[in-house]
Symmetry: C2
Subunit: 226 residues, 2 copies
DNA sequence: TCTCGTATGTACCAAGCGGTGAGTTACCGA
DNA sequence: TCGGTAACTCACCGCTTGGTACATACGAGA
């Protein structure tokens, strides 16, 4: 995850008993910059993040950011691309095809729920990118039309459910995905204002099971009601 | 550009008791700064907004921003307070008590839907404030624990529905509000990334009626399913 | 009219910002 | 062994940023 090599030099930090074993490794440096930048952008937004601040948290220097990425904006795009890539890779591991339509639907919703809860940093990046009207995302050929695999899975489940006469047919897969996403994203993205106003922490572990069931009930009830 | 009408029930200090024809320039200047700052912060976020930029769009000068508000951060807090104040004032006008529980629920969801769609700027401010972990909102005594009136209305509807044996009883008002908010906020807050990835504009007027019905069906089906 | 405090405009600043010029070192293939 | 180049360091730059010192126009009450 983070840089494996703190490297002594100006030792403001602790430990680092390791002798100076500074090797040149482009991949490692690139990865370290991306990791630190991801944390920094997710934490403070694009405009709020500081290149100097990112550099200070690096074992290398600011110059390397420009050497590898060109500039702040390109670095941010690279962060976005990596984050989306990782999330999509995780989504592709979903396998609920062997379940009954209703059970599969509930399971998919639950997995999406878990998934979003496990990656708050990603949700923050998405929120930030929306503030900027997704201009960076739209400008990146790697990300523009990369739909989530989850929607295809959802489409298959819905089709089976309709074939069995269990599900209504005036709601498409993207509608359902939108509802699931909305619920899951909202919990993380709006956590702080919601808590400040309603005094409820939507991510409180104590109510997690209730919230997870709530989402499942919601989509199942909706699709099975005519 | 300049707001011709002071009309500020949200004024933090002013009496606002029918000023005689010629309002003091102070009120108008304050209001103008707030209006421009609201647009600018909503557009670019807190860190992305520039005091100089706001000043340039004013009929007065930057000096006045510091004279009336003290600094960028205090200006931002004032913007938040005004925005929340206005939204709550609108929410209090909701009246669905005369309807049957199911119809009332659907109507409230629909009104919230309309309401959020009509104030994208507010949604953006909320998103921005969440990026900053609601620290400004929590720090404002005027806003910290003031719940939306909509939740009380919802609570009354749910109670009536339960009394009539129509609604399930393991879902509370805040759960339902959370679901409704999630759906409505998501449409606006995540509009751009959702569109970039799934090629669906959730605010497309052509699908508005479908989306509105979707939300109504969702909450009604959920509450009426045992 | 003359005050005097409120409201406003002008000019300016130091710090911080993203970004770069130019030289230096470690690695690798020949 | 050795040269070429990728990887890296250091010092520096020009502009933008939020913020302010200071002068002053205005108008209501004496």
């Amino acid at each position: 995850m983070t840089a494996p090599r703190p490297d002594s030099e100006l030792g403001t930090d602790t430990a680092a008993v390791r002798p100076a074993e500074r090797t040149r490794d482009a991949d490692r440096t690139r990865a370290e910059i991306l990791a630190v930048a991801t944390a920094e952008f997710a934490d403070r937004g694009y405009a709020g993040a500081r290149v100097n601040e990112i550099a200070d948290k690096l074992s290398t220097t600011k110059r390397m950011i420009y050497y590898y990425f060109g500039g702040k904006e390109q670095l941010y795009v690279a962060v976005l691309e990596q984050a989306y890539g990782r999330i999509r890779a995780l989504e592709q591991q979903v396998d609920v095809e062997h379940l009954e339509p209703v059970a599969a639907l509930r399971e998919l919703a639950g997995l999406t729920f878990d998934h979003h809860e496990a990656h708050p940093e990603f949700i923050r990046l998405v929120s930030i990118e929306n503030i900027h009207r997704a201009e960076h995302l739209a400008g990146s050929p790697a990300l523009a039309g990369l739909a989530a695999p989850a929607v295809d899975v959802l489409g298959a489940i819905l089709q089976r459910g309709r074939d069995d006469g269990l599900f209504r047919d005036d709601v498409d897969a993207l509608d359902v995905h939108q509802v699931i996403s909305a619920f899951c994203v909202f919990r993380t993205a709006n956590r702080h204002t919601f808590r400040a106003i309603f005094d409820r922490d939507m991510l409180d572990p104590a109510t997690r099971a209730h919230q997870r069931k709530l989402l499942g009930d919601l989509v199942v009830a909706h699709l099975t009601t005519r």
